[in-house]
């Protein structure tokens, strides 16, 4: 294995398009980061292929800070330790800005258990131009991404082995 970095911080977005929350550690399941994008608002006048009301139509959405009533219970599933003790998942093999683009189709180990495979680059939209502190937009951000990075910033990954990650965890390149 080849360490390529550390997990600098962990963010999740309980309500699509609203402000995210920084968390110290979280369980990552096959369906993604626990508690992330659990809720969204739908708009009656939105096109059926994208029915959500987002911060693109109402920038002030990013000024709302959703919070779970029982924050602790949304970070890790109940009885997780017991479940892992009996897990059938096989153990993982012993085996620059935008540098993640080079890692598509490769596997990463984050912390001591979570294994993900980066699958595709993330095409961005107006949402990344909205300042989460002020709701002001800076279209130049998206234009720079379009002209210098073909419109992509960040990567999508699939979870191969579920696990808990914490800020500061080592990131290992598996293959």
């Amino acid at each position: 294995m080849n360490q390529i970095g550390n997990l600098e911080s962990i963010w999740r977005y309980p309500v699509k398009s609203m402000r995210g929350e920084q968390i110290d550690d979280v369980f990552v399941a096959y369906t993604g980061v626990m508690g992330d994008r659990v809720y969204a608002l739908s708009a009656a006048d939105a096109p059926p292929e994208f029915p959500w009301h987002t911060n693109r139509e109402q920038e002030e959405f990013v000024l709302y800070q959703p919070r779970y009533r029982n924050h602790r219970n949304t970070l890790k599933p109940a009885a997780m330790e017991a479940a892992f003790a009996e897990a059938l998942n096989p153990p993982y093999p012993q085996a620059s800005g935008f540098c993640e683009n080079e890692l598509v189709n490769r596997r990463l180990l984050i912390g001591d258990r979570l294994e993900i495979m980066l699958r595709e680059l993330d095409p961005r939209c107006k949402s990344i131009t909205i300042d989460p502190d002020t709701a002001e937009t800076q279209p130049r951000i998206l234009k720079h991404i379009a002209r210098k990075h073909n419109g992509f910033a960040g990567v999508y990954a699939v979870v191969l082995t579920e696990g808990t990650v914490s800020a500061g965890d080592e990131i290992q390149l598996l293959d």
Binding site: P47, F50, R56, E57, Q58, E59, P123, R124, C125, K126, T129, T137, P139, R140, L142, K143, H144, I145, A146, R147, G151
Partner: protein, 101 residues
């Protein structure tokens, strides 16, 4: 919609500011402004070409345009005179857009 606008057939060009330079861009009837700029060899930022992503949002500094559709702008964007190059058609000959905004 500017009811005093000339017919689209009378419009031969629009102006666009891009990377600090102002260009006179030939307009061909039926084409959106993004296509006109690309046909001129200009390099405005764009992605989806379908009114969804917002990459080609520019500020209209003059003239009137009509957007075929808009699935990305807020009311605030519209009040600030943002238009999407990929959906906009000039309605008169005085259109000036700032692509550097």
């Amino acid at each position: 919609m500017n009811t005093n606008s000339r017919s689209a057939n009378d419009i031969t060009s629009f102006r666009a500011i891009l990377d600090g330079e102002e260009y006179d861009v030939p307009y061909r009837v039926g084409e959106v402004m993004l296509d006109c700029m690309l046909n001129e060899g200009l390099d405005p930022a764009f992605q989806c070409m379908d009114g969804h992503c917002g990459t080609c949002m520019v500020i209209r500094l003059g003239g009137e345009v009509e957007m075929r559709k808009n699935n990305v702008f807020s009311q605030r964007d519209l009040e600030q005179n943002y238009v999407l190059l990929c959906q906009s058609i000039p309605l008169n000959g005085d259109v000036l857009v700032d692509c550097d905004a």
